[in-house]
Assembly symmetry: C2
Homo-oligomer: 714 residues x 2
């Protein structure tokens, strides 16, 4: 795209760069300290980028020729849960497979996706949507074009393809990935190493988490992607990372490669304000309630903790993110800054009459489209949280799938094609790993009660009709909610994985005829869901028209803005190992050390395992000590520009060697999803030396070290 070539690439610290942009950033990379060839760096057919894979929501990288992957511990907890046998708690205990035979299947939903190529399909998509008669039709034309592009791409066996929007739809790219389906767990430290500090430390510095884990990905004996099977063999990646034993030092160049999921740096000020003032505060309230319920259950019963621990951690993380984002909005004046920026966009658009005629109305229409009533937002937000009840979510999936399956594959909504079936089915099975009806019910009752307590005009008619039908005898709304919950949660058939799978694939008529209370509820809510889907489709159609106009205006007003918002595709960020001043009177140093683990040690979440504290007390650091610190560093800060999805991203030194793994950001930098502040946005990584020292001195994982080409010495 020529508009990319015209911009300055001076703002190197901020930026989630596409591989294809790295050549253009060569001078800046060199100036920052990169020692290899920037052109080669952007090549998917070389290390390091060729070794960096997506786990779907996390990043990992190959560190051996036998499919060994390193990622974050927190990216592997779901796999550990799926891998454990009855009576085991692998998250708690940690896991180490000294031989390949000891490795455990990470579950049928686990995937490793290797990016093979990018193809610009902008012309195809733009042409498809150009002549649409209205917004709904435009959205459908868009989806149809994408379905076709994806289907063509996926004719190659074992490939998964996506059409991804860059720069708000000014560009579309078809991303082709090799998808491997047999993932196994090799090694994870105990939770109180990998997740040391849990949500007390989460998003905070200083951190002392050993947030790493090892997986291995397998293929069929023919070398092709295959379902999990005993006869499968380790995948031989074309590229692997070189693992440094040196680690990063303050002031040094670092970069990270990974799959950042989503940022909002190209949003209109109207959207920023809506997020800061309406959406996020409401979300925070609902999440806080749910979090409190799960926390209470977790504390009351270790068996429940093993079930809801992972969803609870997910909510804790997102909740803290929300709190930090709201704080960041305030502290950094993000809304005011966005309004000032939008004024510059408007001025740039207005500066040229032709441009004003072309872009002005679309930008105005885009902004106006976010002006819908707060009341609707309130209701939809509550309905979303109500819909998180596991069995309601499952029942809705079942009914939606039954309906979509009755259409030709090429006409179905995205996400409900045959290509999506295996994964959906596996998801239905494996929700068992965290299903806990008592806490689920408590949350469900709360949100159902909250919806019922809305003003009459705001309550969804479909839900109220169902409620009256399911609890006809109950006296008042509160009694009805309780009666409905009793009906839904008393020995629900869908709590059985086989029953859920059994429903999957049945015709929609069978579901409509069912008396299962959850399926009845899903069927009853279908008109409500359809109305929301229809509104969503119209809105997307509108945005297909109008977002590129705003993006053009923004790029015009701010020509330094040279990278697209995160969209789950492979990106590279580079910067420097450095601390920061989180607030007046305080400095966050760029590194922590094992001494800090002992300093914090105590009750959960600081219950460092005896094996770890004893090894620290022994003080045998081998080659893993930092010369300046005289001890083993644990975590470190850098100004790398990452977001959710980057978890597990390898952090590389100036020669492209792995020196750490990104796993978190800092509180003051949370708002960088909306606006990046170089003084405050920091990535938290685990130092490769802590990882290696742990494997060597604590876990005795010599086979792993050897496989990475490192000789254990302690």
């Amino acid at each position: 795209m020529t508009f990319l070539m015209s911009v300055s690439l001076a703002l190197a610290v901020e930026g989630m760069w596409e591989p294809s942009q790295l050549r253009g950033l060569g001078a800046e990379l060199k100036r920052s300290g990169y020692l290899d060839d920037p052109a080669a760096l952007g090549d998917l057919n070389h290390a390091p980028l060729g070794a960096v894979v997506s786990l779907g929501g996390c990043t990992a990288s190959f560190v051996s020729d036998l499919g060994l992957l390193v990622t974050n511990h927190h990216c592997a907890v779901g796999m550990l849960q799926r891998a454990q046998h009855d009576g085991e708690d692998l998250v708690q205990s940690g896991f180490y497979a000294p031989t390949r035979a000891d490795e455990r299947p990470a579950g049928r939903v686990s995937r490793v996706s290797i990016t093979e190529g990018f193809e610009d399909v902008t012309a195809v998509v733009h042409k498809a949507i150009a002549g649409a008669k209205d917004d709904v039709a435009r959205n459908e034309a868009h989806d149809a074009a994408i379905r076709k592009l994806v289907a063509g791409c996926e004719r190659a066996p074992g490939r998964r393809c996506r059409v991804v929007r860059y720069f708000e739809g000014r560009r579309y790219t078809l991303v082709r990935q090799l998808e491997l389906r047999d993932v196994r767990v090799v090694m994870a430290p105990p939770d109180m190493v990998g997740n040391y500090g849990d949500e007390v430390d989460n998003w905070h510095w200083p951190r002392h988490a050993g947030d790493f884990a090892f997986l291995r990905v397998y293929v069929g004996p023919d070398g092709e992607p295959a379902d999990p099977a005993p006869e499968n063999v380790p995948y031989a990646p074309a590229h692997r990372l070189s693992v440094s034993t040196r680690g990063p030092s303050p002031g040094e160049f670092v970069m990270a490669a990974g799959y950042p999921g989503h940022t909002d740096r190209w949003r209109t000020a109207v959207e920023v304000a809506r997020e800061a003032e309406l959406s996020l505060p409401a979300w925070r309230g609902h999440a806080a309630f749910t979090f409190d319920v799960l926390t209470r259950w977790t504390q009351a019963d270790p068996a429940v903790a093993a079930l809801v621990g992972v969803p609870r951690s997910g909510i804790a993380n997102a909740l803290f993110n929300a709190v930090g984002t709201l704080e960041g909005f305030r502290r950094s004046g993000v809304v005011a800054a966005a309004r000032a920026r939008d004024a510059r966009v408007d001025a740039w658009i207005a500066a040229d009459p032709a441009r004003a005629a072309r872009l002005g109305p679309a930008v105005a229409e885009l902004r106006a489209s976010f002006g819908h009533a707060d009341a609707r937002h309130r209701q939809e937000s509550l309905m979303d949280w109500l819909g998180r009840a596991d069995l309601l979510s499952a029942a809705r999936q079942l009914y939606r799938w039954s309906l979509e399956s009755e259409k030709p594959d090429s006409r179905r909504d995205l996400g409900y094609q045959e290509r999506d079936r295996a994964r959906a089915r596996a998801g239905l099975e494996e929700l068992q790993a965290h299903l806990h009806l008592a806490s689920d019910r408590e949350v469900f009752v709360h949100f159902l009660g909250a919806v019922v307590a809305l003003p009459e005009a705001e309550r969804p008619a479909e839900l109220m009709a169902w409620l009256r039908a399911v609890a006809p005898a109950a006296g008042d709304d509160a009694a009805r909610v309780e009666a409905a919950a009793a009906r839904l949660y008393t020995s629900p058939a869908l709590a059985d994985a086989a029953t859920r799978v059994d429903w999957f694939g049945k015709p929609s008529s069978a579901l409509r005829a069912s008396t299962d209370p959850w399926i009845t509820l899903a069927v009853a809510l279908r008109p409500y869901d359809e109305a929301r889907e229809a509104r969503g489709k119209a809105q997307r159609g509108l945005e297909l028209r109008t977002r590129p106009a705003f993006a053009e205006g923004l790029a015009g007003a701010e020509p330094d803005r040279a990278y697209s918002d995160a969209n789950g595709t492979l990106r590279v960020t580079f910067g420097t190992v450095q601390g920061y001043r989180p607030r007046d009177g305080t400095v966050s140093l760029p590194q922590t050390t094992v001494a800090g683990i002992v300093e914090k040690a105590g009750d959960w979440p600081f219950a460092a395992p005896e094996a770890l504290t004893a090894a620290i007390a022994r003080g045998a650091w081998g080659p893993y000590a930092d010369p300046a610190l005289g001890t083993v560093p644990v975590d470190f800060l850098s100004d790398l520009d990452i977001t959710g999805g980057n978890s597990g991203s390898p952090i590389l030194d100036a020669k492209g060697r792995m020196v750490g793994l990104a796993f978190d950001g800092t509180y003051e930098g949370i708002v960088s999803d909306w606006r990046f502040d170089p003084a405050l946005a920091r990535t938290v990584g685990v130092d490769v030396r802590y990882l290696l020292w742990y494997l060597d001195a604590v876990a005795g994982a010599d086979t792993l070290l050897a496989e990475m080409g490192i000789t254990g010495t302690i």
Copy 2:
């Protein structure tokens, strides 16, 4: 005392030095950067020490020739409450009296005490207790000697005297103070300046509190101490501090003078362990409950907040202190260190047979005296918290006073002599300022229920008998507790200040004959109280014998230990302005700035007043900016060795000029009451430049500035 002369005075940073020790520390003071004559520094008849007074629990200092005192805001909140008229909330709003006529009386319990002299009375006390036939008699002989010494000293008009123990009773000193009774409030910033950050920031760095206030003390027209009266005139102090406009800089010498109340650095390891493992954990639990009740009430109703805010803050502070002390015990291994130290004490004692025979048995007996049953501790701890109910406390005071008043003054227990009467009476009146029956009742019911729930053998028989008598009809214990509370808290006569004062002075027979439910309870508990008092007297008698032996052993084993535990007498500490590493990966800088106030500003407790934030936004710093920072510093850190009672202590520079006021410590240093760690113990002070800039640029308090000899310029 010759044993003092024999020790090295090398450990200058740690130490709460007596004025008389400063001459001996001359070389160390000079080396640390002190520029004036160390010998003169120790002189009560010179500035600065001659200007440093006690407020009873806080320190203040004269900063004008007309009795103007500066201290901490948090030392003045009780005075502000007593000074306010109906409908005012001077803590919230702040206060400024531009003229003397505008100044407000700080209440009849307020006192300013000026130390005039110290007299060694060791020989007198040691002789008095030498021949006692048992521990109870020894305690009585000790108290009799002290009553006599105090009575002799207080024959001088307007003087208050105390006999104070140094070095665990190896020395006794008679301290003579001039006591002034007419204290008035001159200026205090609003709570959200003086107490910015409240308990969120309390004990934490970075701090941004403007914790200062101004008082003025008055005397009769004859210049003698007088009760508050309109015709009184400002007291003309013999000495006043010079107020610097320069402030402290990192690395510079500073010292502080004040009245530290209590430390426990000379305790046996048995006591340290008991505190860490039994007393403090129990206390923390009870305090946390009480704090939660007061917090709930405070949040529910601003009118209640105005009543219970001060006691609530007191509990919050003590609670956080307890939490931090427990954390410090753990983190610094204080119990293990004390045990190792005691082993050295024992070794030193055992090294010489005569010494072993003289000290060994006493030390063993001292340690054994703390071995009483945990059950008794549990019960007494609950009874203490039950006894904090305001009207029970008042009723017990009334009854105890009535009993003691029937003895000759010279035979009464310490604290119940005629010299104590006026203050006790004022206290009974002025508890009105924080009396809030609903929250008081909630706490009372909780602790009464907890005592009643103890195992049968642990319940105080007197309390149970009273409970059955007051609620004979109630079915079970829980019902009895509720019935008793209903009886006590329904329109209690003692909730009226005049009624309380009316009872004060009545014969004990009148109280025994009373049917007032609170007085009935106090009378019923008297045998319980007497038994505890008797045990306390015997224990004190034992300690009078045995503590000096342990102190001699400790001084022998650790000859650098050259200063006594804090005991409420005037002390000097010196050190350096410096930050610290609170934990791995983090540095606390030595100074904060006004920028940090804006950074934190938001909801309470960070609701910075508009006048303050506007002045910061204007950025007119006048002469008050720190040259290195380019802005006005707010608070600063130093390694001065302080504790409770030092609040309000002037921090002085190398020439003895006031550059700040001490007001807090840091979390990591809280445990320094038990063991001082030079790497972690830090004093938090407010920079004089923030104080002056606030007076000048925000409060417009030109008269105050002028009185201190400073010309307002902003």
